[in-house]
Subunit: 106 residues, 2 copies
DNA sequence: CAGTATCCGCGCGGATACTG
DNA sequence: CAGTATCCGCGCGGATACTG
């Protein structure tokens, strides 16, 4: 369970994996995909995911150098977890108002 | 996706949900289930999950007062995500050594 | 037992500036 | 474009002490 939680550690990790699950993306593309993430953080998360064997990095020999990131086979195994999470979030949003009548001050 | 990630925010949240998914548990039981978590943090996470409508709290009228926490219907919807995550973690552990031969200095 | 209050440290992540 | 280095702030979480 610790290892499982570690897969999504970092506030932006789920976002990074989410966009990579749709298609391989370059660094700059991910920055645009994920408004608010800084280059520093994106770089840090990607390196973590590289270390874990969840994503691959393919430097492209284009004249403006670029690099393409993609999920590995193992990385794709995390996608169902993300999908289930998003699904739960949607259900939660629907169930929220009508059901509990929680008077959360905030 | 932000809301989805928020469901597991906090280092201990996945653990709390994981143990509650198995059976309803009292505060002290969760503390023992999750070695290393402090009362403060467990309390904070449980209150967050209460606010989100993911868990319920049932005070028990036992002579040493106790309270039982359980997943709500919505809370149970998060369980598949946890399962998928653990599953991916297991796959990752197996795939790690034989595959990549990453020479991570660290 | 079930929490809450206070204090505090550390790590995550932003901003900025810079390199290849 | 694709990063990395430095600096810094904030929030999460631990330790401790305390209440009902």
């Amino acid at each position: 369970m610790d290892e499982a939680a570690a897969l999504l550690s970092g506030a932006w990790t789920p976002h990074v994996l989410w966009y990579l699950s749709k298609q391989p993306r370059r660094f700059g593309e991910l920055r645009k995909d994920i408004p608010g993430i800084s280059a520093r953080t994106l770089s840090a998360r990607l390196r973590e995911l590289l270390e874990k064997g969840v994503v691959t990095c393919t430097p492209l020999a284009t004249s403006p150098p670029s690099a393409e990131y993609a999920l590995t086979e193992i990385g794709h195994k995390i996608v169902p977890a993300l999908t289930a999470l998003v699904d739960a979030a949607l259900k939660l949003r629907l169930g929220q108002a009508p059901a509990a009548s929680r008077r959360s001050g905030q």
